[in-house]
Symmetry: C2
Subunit: 340 residues, 2 copies
DNA sequence: ATCGCCAGTTGAAACCTTTCAAAGATGCAA
DNA sequence: TTGCATCTTTGAAAGGTTTCAACTGGCGAT
């Protein structure tokens, strides 16, 4: 094909095809303006030389990029990949391609990715940030790269964001448990420094006190992370409580915790939901596929991604763009783990 | 910061700092060659103007990029995100950043991403391709972008690849079941057009005939995809078999299938492993966290990513690079789902 | 004084593409 | 035959950075 030569450029293609440089560019960008025979000649030359358009040069001149990036907190969490799927979908409609970057919940990595993406002049950045109030998020927008915060509510109005009402989600979960007759409930989640956990806990408390139940019968079991392993640990702690104070139901701040709790509970010979009812959060695919299908609070994940993309595109292309905060409503999906 | 101005370049920074353009570039690329006071002046100017280096221009001139890309088959499959973690790790050591692209098992999308990445002149491409024999993979290398195939063995020697010995993996799984005394076993997986599935099935057959067992007591239950849902369906089909021909153990081509099968089996009141022993493949995190912890064939996922990255970097930087095919050895992790 | 050396600094050239005004070709009507 | 309109092609300029050979000024050695 093109074994040793350093690099094939439009110039080479033009020479080979016996046309001018501008014509090659026209074939690339406005093929309709080029006569059929010329176009064929040029395309043949490209194929023969193994020409690959240099995107850096293109972008430098044309000024705009064809990619959006989504910086996720944890690529291994199915929740984020589902959101990403929504992003891909609507990015595709606008002829944009998606790059996924993984900050691994690390502020330094997040920052480095943001720098790189700004330097690449991507069309826009979607991000689920480690800390939604961090200064550098605002800097990005200030320097001209559109940015939308995903899955975190924004305090200020100076940034676009899409999120789900986590307080309401917490409410739904606990109201459901109250409806099922539970009067001793555990909230399992943490650390509380995570915004989502805080909000879901708050919603749980609100539902509890609205029902006139005593605050001390809603137990906070705090975990170090939102993982399966931590869920199992929480199960052990629950089992260790004296019987009369032991909750008959648990609301977990996400599905990974709930799955761990479920496993520990079944594994130690107790029954779900007879001995312990469980509600998760996120409704990831593994929730319905669990040994006991999990009741969970569903977030419109794809929609989240879709909307975030639309916002970022608007910010990139619409000069009259105004920063918008969109909040979606979660929905309780009741399954065996609370219904018996 | 930098509200209306079109775009801040090195030139603006130079003017503001009262130095030449070349000095600004030196601050950016060889800070040691610049005197302390000058450096500070320039850095201050950058901050004040909100300067963001234009990566397109940088790359155009410098000729090389700072990113590698990993094109995965399915971003929602934990297996791939685990591999990606390995990639991130060793890419970081070489000062490279990772972009993850999702082909969604779609050949057209895969192609489009490959084109885009070549045009971007990324340092290298890792890919788990839809079809490892596709012509366009070789084209990429022919045109000068290093590329490594991940998790598929390569026939030809004209491409780098890292993979795990899937025939051996299939062997290990079935030998384990034979050791546990099973004489009626089902292989669940499909479609067989997927290389991995074919290899695992082959390994299973080899182990079976090596043990002198009759071919007809190793049942092939073929699925349309490697998903939880298909696993549940397979469970129903198993249950429908007449009792005397019904397998007492199942080897699933991946963990998602195994989890679905596990769920269906437990859900219909049968016991694992007493009524049905189950072996999965991949050993994703959810395998050990399942209601009945799953025996599974573990692949060195992180190592896969790590090695692939090293190969792609070698191909990018070492002029004497020779294409290498690395094969790892899988390992059986026995858990409750076969041990009781 | 002069020389040579060195650290620090300079600015033009190069990287490869796209854009656009202008030139060239073609066809048709007058 | 000329003029005009339409369609195609041309080539120079521009875009922001890095590189590199050349330059500057200061300093110690001669």
């Amino acid at each position: 094909m093109n074994p040793s030569s350093r690099s094939v450029g439009v110039k080479d293609v033009a020479a080979r095809a016996g046309v001018s440089l501008g014509t090659v560019s026209n074939v690339l960008n406005r093929p309709d303006r080029v006569s059929e025979p010329t176009r064929v000649k040029v395309e043949t030359a490209m194929r023969e030389l193994g020409f690959v358009r240099n995107e850096s040069a293109r972008q430098l001149r044309a000024g705009h990029s064809r990619v959006v990036a989504y910086v996720v907190l944890d690529a291994a969490n199915p929740f984020f990949t589902d959101v990403a799927q929504g992003v891909e979908l609507s990015a595709g409609l606008a002829d944009l391609w998606l790059f996924i970057c993984n900050s691994s919940n690390n502020a330094d990595r997040e920052r480095a990715y943001l720098d790189l993406l700004q330097q690449q002049r991507v069309q826009g950045i979607l991000i689920t940030p480690v800390d939604p109030d961090a200064e550098h998020l605002r800097d990005v927008v200030g320097r001209g790269t559109p940015l939308v915060v995903v899955d975190r509510t924004q305090q200020g109005l100076d940034l676009c964001s899409v999120a789900v009402d986590d307080v309401l989600g917490g409410r739904l979960a606990v109201e459901h448990l109250i409806d099922r007759g539970h009067t001793q409930v555990a909230f399992i989640g943490g650390p509380l420094s995570i915004g989502q956990v805080r909000d879901r806990w708050q919603g749980a408390q609100e539902a509890w006190s609205d029902a006139g139940l005593p605050a001390e019968s809603l137990h906070l079991i705090s975990t170090a992370a939102l993982t399966v392993v931590e869920g199992r640990g929480a199960g052990e702690r629950l089992a260790g409580l004296p019987k009369r104070r032991r909750p008959t139901a648990a609301f977990c701040a996400n599905d990974l915790l709930a799955l761990g709790l479920l496993q520990q509970t079944i594994g130690s010979g107790r029954l779900v939901p007879e001995d312990l009812a469980i509600v998760g959060y996120d409704d990831i695919e593994f929730a319905s596929a669990a040994a006991v299908p999990l009741t969970s609070v569903r977030q419109p994940r794809q929609e989240l991604g879709r909307t975030a993309t639309e916002l970022v595109i608007d910010e990139a292309t619409n000069p009259k763009h105004v920063h918008t905060q969109v909040t979606f409503t979660p929905e309780l999906v009741a399954r065996t783990s609370t219904l018996g």
